[in-house]
């Protein structure tokens, strides 16, 4: 990483003694100033602020772990070490998907983590959701988030433990049982959504930010087979649940094209890639008859 110019550091220290420390991780005065503002709002004493600034600037701790939350659409997601922090790209996907959903639809989120995706969907629309994760830390945080956001929920959300990689039948069965409990006469799920670990071993070492590597769980980030390991399994579970649409986040255009390939091979009749706000290939969607509504993304050309 390039060194920060001395003039910038001097300017920063004139404004506040905390800014040079924050600059180490924020890299621009603008974002250091706004982070300082948020830290100040959160700190109860000057000593606590000093501690926050040290953790953020020197230890590279994510702001979301220090403040304990991340706004996500209309929800506020509690963040704890051991569980991946919700990303702005995921927020964009979830908000767009919420706009496509109809009341009464049933949604399954695989690798749910904090539970941010199903909670946002249930906040926006009257839908039933089930979130699945293998990590007990993530699940207990998802439960806390359900409680934390219950005031804004219009739909329903449940969370259960499940292994997407090895126990496809078992996972599908538990999900179905969950919906069975929620409503009589349940037959099939409408859409499966997922933000699985998608970074390759190589990419993990080269392309991730320091703060991500040092603080966030590798379990939620890295996957075998160039990061593609989860995608065929997601499609298999979707099929087992009778879902007509899949929406999954990916790490860029190359991976998006590969995932489209796997899913077509598995017999899905249509696939498309949604572009994110930074014009990167961010989401792959697939559908069978009746699931075509999932085709267009948030930044699709009109």
């Amino acid at each position: 990483m390039p060194r920060l110019p001395t003039t910038l550091l001097r300017r920063a220290s004139k404004l506040s003694p905390h800014l040079p420390t924050l600059l180490k991780v924020c890299r621009s005065l603008d974002s250091a100033q706004i982070e300082l503002k948020w830290l100040k709002e959160h700190a109860k004493t000057p000593e606590e602020l000093q501690n926050f600034v040290y953790r953020r600037g020197e230890l590279n701790e994510p702001l979301q772990y220090i403040l304990g939350t991340q706004p996500f659409g209309a929800t506020e997601i509690l963040c704890e070490r051991g569980v991946l922090i919700p990303r702005a790209e995921t927020e964009e996907i979830a908000l767009h998907l919420a706009g496509l959903l109809k009341s009464g639809m049933k949604v399954v989120d695989l690798c749910t983590g904090t539970g941010c995706i199903p909670l946002l969907l249930a906040a926006e629309k009257q839908v039933s959701t089930v979130g699945v994760d293998i990590s007990p830390i993530a699940l207990s945080l998802a439960m806390k988030n359900l409680e934390h956001n219950k005031e804004v929920l219009r739909g329903r959300a449940q969370f259960l433990m499940g292994d997407v990689l090895s126990d496809i039948e078992e996972t599908a069965y538990s999900v179905q049982a969950c919906f069975d409990e929620m409503e009589e006469g349940h037959e099939s799920v409408d859409v499966v959504v997922s933000n699985p670990p998608y970074i390759s071993a190589d990419g993990y070492n080269k392309d991730t930010a320091r703060s991500v590597r040092l603080w966030e769980p590798k379990l939620a980030l890295e996957a075998e087979h160039d990061g593609d390991h989860f995608y065929p399994k997601i499609a298999e579970i979707a099929e087992a649940l009778g879902a007509r649409a899949i929406v999954a986040e990916v790490g860029g255009w190359e991976q998006a094209r590969r995932v489209e390939g796997y899913w077509r091979q598995l017999g899905w009749s249509g696939t498309n890639v949604w572009e994110d706000f930074a014009k990167k290939g961010r989401t792959v969607v697939a559908w069978n008859q009746g699931g075509e509504w999932v085709k267009d993304g948030p930044n699709a050309a009109q």
Partner: protein
């Protein structure tokens, strides 16, 4: 007009309709003023008949004469009331207001003054019991002044109450930073915009001026450098929107929620667009009026002066001075000031009406 009023009132009894109700509300004041005026005229005619009656006894005559004199005065006043009620209500007067304060000339002293104005309006709204929501603030480097401050007064009708506050506010005082005791003159600009909430569309009430096609809006989000997604955990939530046809821009980075920043940004953008459209229309109207007569110049610069050494606040448009500056800054005196400005505006609009009729 009165016929329309009775007609509409009848309709309103059958079925309630917000548009109809608004029109009735507008007409009610005219009808009322007209009715009072006609009553007074009738009263006068009766009194004239009495006075012309030669058989009237002296005591009664004295009473009638007294009444006649006072009625004549009332008639003058009532005919003015009719004029006032005929002045059309500002089309956005019923909306909440968005107030933007920025320093003008005068460097850091102007920033400090902008902050003083911010506190003054906060105190005033607090005094009147109006709910206020801060949209965004940007402090200066010394943290004692404002580079920009935007807040919304969210109650209906706030725009009508506060719109005359828009303009250049000038301050004359010895700044705290001044060592030689010299008086400085600085300015700050206050913009008052009608606030069009994004939710208003559903109620079928949205003003045509703030309607924009989202296809014309370019949304820029601070782009994640590198791979984005799971690779980084950035906190950038800034949103910038550009309305391509007008080139107007709004940018918000106040909260950690991109979602909320987006909503606020759209709200600010819509208000700016509506204001621009309205300004254009006003300029057109003004050109027409100027052609007709030399009345009502546009917003004059330096509409108000806050003179600290003389303990005086003067509104140059209304020609009104308040000789108690602290009371103005605490909100109480400002109320009086705003009342005077409204009177001035009303007078000007009545004049305009007289010219155009």
């Amino acid at each position: 007009m009165r016929d329309e009023h009775t007609e509409l009132n009848k309709k309103l009894q059958d079925s309630f309709d917000t548009k109809l109700a608004k029109r009735v509300g507008e007409l009610t004041s005219v009808t009322k003023a007209l009715q009072e005026y006609e009553d007074a005229i009738e009263n006068r005619d009766e009194l004239t008949a009495m006075l012309n009656d030669k058989t009237l006894d002296a005591e009664l005559r004295a009473l009638a004469e007294e009444d006649f004199a006072s009625t004549a005065g009332t008639i003058d006043e009532l005919s003015q009331n009719i004029q006032k009620s005929l002045v059309p209500v500002h089309p956005f007067a019923h909306l909440p207001a968005l107030i933007e304060i920025r320093p003008g000339t005068g460097g850091s002293e102007a920033q400090i003054f902008a902050n003083d104005l911010w506190k003054m309006y906060m105190a005033y709204c607090n005094l009147r019991g109006w709910p206020v929501s801060v949209v965004s603030t940007q402090e200066n480097e010394g943290a004692d002044g404002l580079i920009e401050g935007i807040f919304e007064v969210t109650n209906d009708g706030a725009y009508g109450e506060l719109r005359l506050e828009a303009g250049v506010h000038r301050v004359q005082r010895i700044p705290a930073t001044e060592k030689q005791g010299r008086t400085h003159t600085s300015t700050a600009t206050v913009m008052v915009l009608p606030s069009f909430q994004t939710t208003e569309v559903a109620e079928g009430e949205e003003d045509p001026d703030s309607v924009i096609d989202m296809k014309d809006v370019r949304v820029d989000i601070m782009r994640a450098r590198g791979a984005g997604g799971q690779h980084v955990n950035t906190t950038d939530s800034a949103v910038r929107m550009t309305h391509i046809p007008t080139g107007l821009v709004a940018a918000i980075q106040d909260t950690r929620s991109q979602h909320k920043n987006r909503e606020k940004c759209l709200q600010v953008l819509k208000s700016r667009i509506a204001q621009k459209r309205r300004d254009e229309r006003e300029a057109e109207e003004l050109a027409i009026r100027r052609g007709a007569a030399k009345v009502g110049a546009g917003r004059s610069d330096k509409m108000r002066t806050y003179n600290y050494s003389q303990n005086r606040v003067t509104d140059h448009r209304a020609g009104f001075s308040l000789h108690d500056l602290p009371s103005c800054m605490e909100g109480e005196g400002l109320e009086k000031m705003i009342e005077e400005c409204k009177k001035w505006k009303m007078g000007e609009e009545v004049e305009m009406l007289a010219l155009s009729s």
